[in-house]
Amino acid sequence: MALPRSFKRALWVFHVATGSCNGCDIEIVAALTPRYDVERFGIMLTGTPRHADVLLITGPVTKPMLPRLKRIYEQTPDPKAVVVVGGCGSTSGVFYESYNVVGPIDEVIPVDVYVPGCPSRPEAIIDGVVKAVAKLETLEKSRGGE
């Protein structure tokens, strides 16, 4: 089997917590550490959205995080993919009917991949990022790039 194009380069990921409970965030870190070790697929956490290909977003978007989330999305260069990790970011999950929650995330910025689970398992998070690769590839093709 030929390697998919996505394996030809590294994918840089920026993680944003928008008021999550930490459950998913810790599972994201677990995915980075030796048991799951996503770095072997070239997936790497970066310190700024300006270097990121993929945004990994958790949390139901609290009011104070709303402008920040929008800004982080704008700071991420195109082509980009947005992956929402966890039920509360995808649908508000357990955090429905709150006065301080304005999510889910797809009401604020466009989302490409939803990873289910409360919290999502590390395997599911990896799967979500890999799915984002497909989206990035189509975007790049449509721009005529290699």
Partner: protein, 419 residues
């Protein structure tokens, strides 16, 4: 640029303090919070803390749902302490409704609670190593941590958010045929503990970066009402499990761990925080072992049928308090039940980070800007637990000083103007 403009003589440079904002989204922070540091050169001379970014209004949401739904919400206050909050919450409700918990259930709650402490302390140690730039140690620690996650998954079905406690008992048993898995994990940790202690506490670079950094004195810890490992690192012998034993802790002799147990004088610095947390992993292993060996037989829930349980809760009225020593310190839940309604009448949560927030101020003051990440991490903060709408005066001393300064400036101006 004109050369004259930079032609300052030595000593002519005005003493300037710079303000450096950090957060709410910052690579050194895993969760949103904002710090604003006043710097004199590299030294921190002032700090202001602005929490509130992760506030989701959990108490409000919980008061609009029935108690069992609120229980699942209480797990999502924090995904790291995902049993500490339900443990305090169930105890508060049971306390208010006068519901008994069978002994076996109490032991099972204790086992899962202590397993959480093991994974949480290792998680913290790894994050701490990462903040120091020691990523090898982060990966080593998190790899070791996975064993406790495996055991938690084996016993509860989940890696995080275990859904074990329910009012009147627990939802799942720890069956005898799974005990060997637990013993195996405990042996694994026992065999690794010395290695962890060597890696963290006998390492020159870790020691240089953490000794006397972010110190909190005994008196400050008492004055600022610090809790958990943050207080114990300063030598304060405070631990809910020791002071007001509950669950299975009442059958054991639990002692609060301070750096003195490692044979050193408590200084309350980051190094002492590491000592306390590593020794607490050892303590937790002992507690789990005791619980497994002495696990009482009997039922899991005193009201096993959920409709009957809901009915009993609906009938109940009164106030209750539940306390638990979470990995980060004491967590308290207060509830009030009103007769005839399914929802909580009042729900108030006090998470450990809320108590430890003020300890940040003396910890930061006087240290260098480069130490910010590790000092911030030293109290093992959990914003999602404690973020609330009504902010206390988080700036502590600084605001007071600022007020005095303003008053002084204002008076001077009055004098000047009035000649």
């Amino acid at each position: 640029m004109n050369n004259d403009s930079i032609n300052l003589k030595v000593g002519q440079c005005a003493a300037t303090t710079y303000t450096v904002p950090v957060g709410p989204v910052h690579p050194a922070l895993k969760e949103p919070i904002r710090f604003s540091f006043d710097l004199d050169g590299e030294r921190i001379v002032g700090v202001d803390i602005k929490p509130g970014f992760a506030h989701r209004g959990i108490e409000y949401m919980g008061m609009k749902r029935n108690l069992i739904q609120a229980l699942y919400l209480s797990e999502r206050i924090c995904g790291i302490c995902s049993i500490s909050h339900p443990l305090a919450f169930t105890q508060a409700v049971e306390n208010a409704a006068g519901i008994e918990v069978p002994p076996r259930a109490q032991y099972i709650r204790t086992i899962i609670g202590e397993l959480e402490r093991v994974h949480s302390h290792l998680l913290w140690a790894g994050v701490g190593a990462h903040e120091l730039g020691f990523d090898t140690l982060l990966h080593l620690t998190w790899n070791v941590r996975e064993k406790s996650m495996d055991l938690l998954e084996e016993l509860t079905g989940n890696r995080v958010d275990y859904a074990i406690p329910i009012f009147s008992g627990v939802r799942r048993d720890v069956p005898a045929e799974k005990a060997h898995l637990a013993y195996e994990a405990l042996d694994y940790y026992k065999s690794l503990l010395q290695q962890m202690i060597d890696a963290f506490l006998h390492d020159k670079s870790v020691e240089m970066r953490t000794r006397d950094v972010g110190a909190l004195t005994y008196d400050q810890a008492i004055e600022l009402c610090a809790v958990g490992p943050t207080a114990r690192a300063s030598g304060v012998k405070k631990d809910v499990r020791q002071d007001m034993p509950y669950l299975a802790y009442a059958d054991m002799d639990i002692r609060a761990i301070t750096p003195a147990d490692f044979g050193t004088e408590p200084r309350g610095d980051v190094y002492d925080n590491i000592i306390v947390r590593l020794l607490e992993v050892q303590q937790s292993i002992g507690i789990i072992e005791y619980c497994l060996e002495n696990l009482p037989s009997g039922e899991l829930m005193s009201i096993p049928k959920v409709p009957a349980l809901l009915a009993a809760l609906k009938k109940a009225s009164g106030e209750g308090i539940g306390r638990h020593e979470a990995p980060r310190g004491e967590v308290i839940h207060y509830v009030r039940l009103a007769e005839g309604v399914e929802e909580l009448a009042v729900w108030k949560v006090k998470a450990p980070t809320y108590s430890n927030l003020m300890a940040w101020v003396p910890k930061f003051l006087g240290d260098e800007i480069a130490d910010v990440p590790i000092i911030a991490a030293s109290i093992d903060p959990c914003m999602c637990c404690m973020d609330r709408v009504h902010l206390a005066d988080a700036a502590g001393n600084k605001t007071t000083r600022m007020k005095e300064e303003l008053v002084r400036l204002s008076r001077e101006k009055t004098r000047r103007i009035c000649g």
